[in-house]
Amino acid sequence: MVHTLFVARLTLNALGRDRVLHTLLGVSLVLLCLVPAFSLFSMRQVQELAVTLVLSCHALLLIFLAIFLGSSTLWRDLERRHTSLILGLPLSRSHYLLGRFFGVGLFLLLFSLCYALLAVIAVSVSATFYEADRPVIWMNLLAALGGDLLKAWLLAAVAFLFSTFSTSLFLPLFGTLAIYSAGSASQEVYEYLNSDFSSQISAGVRWLAEIFYWILPNLTLFDLKTQAVYSLPLDIPALIYPFIYGFVYTSLVLWGAEFFLSRRDLV
């Protein structure tokens, strides 16, 4: 298990020196600084808008990072044959895979933490412009950020899975993107199909949609933005479900990734 940590550390080390990521971090910093200014565009909902902006930026950046890093990390190792060096060491493929994943996950976590800190500042500043009906519940804001992080981890795992059996970068990149959009919409589609509105839709389509609904990740679960923006009370299930669901789903996906990687010829 320590091997996993070593690989994770190596990954984090390499990511920390990546220039693309430096640029991205810079961009997010600028965006956060702009949040108080932007939020003034809403006359009465300054604070709500600030929270929305902060959360949307976070979700966007994190999902971009998750898909990009998740797809490219393994892919680059395989494509540039870093694996022949790394896996030529007394290191098992599962430890290597987990290490790489934890490295990316840890990076996302660090990014999220830094972002959260700055976000709290940005929202506090915005909140002073106009007194909102309900004050910000910071726990909700953090929970919403956490939900996005869990979602990003899950997506990174999906990207890992795709890159274990693909030789090109396109499949992990666009496959994960597709899973992301499908997973975000699946709950609404499911509800629609279960309502009388959809009575004209054929049984076959419904059946197919139902299967997809249970197989695809249900990303709606991770969306706690509304509660954060309106400062609505967060119930326990809203916190517990994403956590457990995210853990189980991510583990399943990683299991699949390990399955494919352990059978792949590293040429």
Binding site: V2, H3, F6, V7, R9, L10, N13, A14, R17, D18, D77, R80, R81, H82, T83, S84, L85, L87, G88, L89, P90, L91, S92, H95, R263, D265, L266, V267
Partner: protein, 291 residues
Amino acid sequence: MNAIEATGLKKVFRGKKMQRVEALKEVTFSLSKGEVFGFLGPNGAGKSTTIKVLTGQIRASSGEAFLWGQPVSHPSSRQNLGYLPENPSFPDTLTASDYLRFVGKVFSLPQGELQGKITSVLSRLELDTTMKRPIRGFSKGMVQRLGLAQALLADPDLLILDEPMSGLDPLGRALVKDLISELRQKGKTIFFSTHITADVEQVCDRVGIIVGGRLQCVEPVEELLQEGLSGYRIYYRKDGTMCELPAAREDFPREMETLLSQGIEVDRVEPQRRDLETFFLETVERARYEN
């Protein structure tokens, strides 16, 4: 316990459109502790494929292989192995010492000794000045040296090197040859692939020649060179001028006797042998002819 044990290795690559490439047809050999083994073969013969099977990178279609008695599918078989892949490529945002530190940890080298080992192995390969630079900026030869450095870092008893001299300048080649001799002295087992027969002649105990995925022969280098002895060339002085006289192996004592009895001063005698290169070329010829 043998350092390497390979029996009946076969590998079939399946490409797109049901293409099949039989990269290894039959490879069986073993390497005992302390041996230096040169693995010769033309391009595309299956050298790298064999090495990848031995290091667990790819799975043989059939046959089995063991390092130090452990099946190669298991990571612990590499616990006492230093491996240099062909054209190594490192995660290039890292620095040399970052990567070596990682390697040391995976080999569970004690934390205290790690830095010292890194410095010494880097300086052995004359990379000490570039320790703190990102690998991205390394030249081809420097990357190759770093590849050797990471293989040597944990001081393993077995080294598997895929073309260790490729991309190196003459100085580097000499360095690697020195290194191999030095390791051989220390009793390490070394398996390396190469195209250059002279390298094998100089440092190897045994040589294996693979052609078209089939291991054609495994011979002790010393014996090959002995067998290959075809005759001698005798240099002598006569009336102040240098003359030379070729003599077949069986004629040599007689010729010498004649010369000496004439009171002629023999300057030097050089053995004439069919060298490894010729042997290699003949083997390849024969193998191709047989197929």
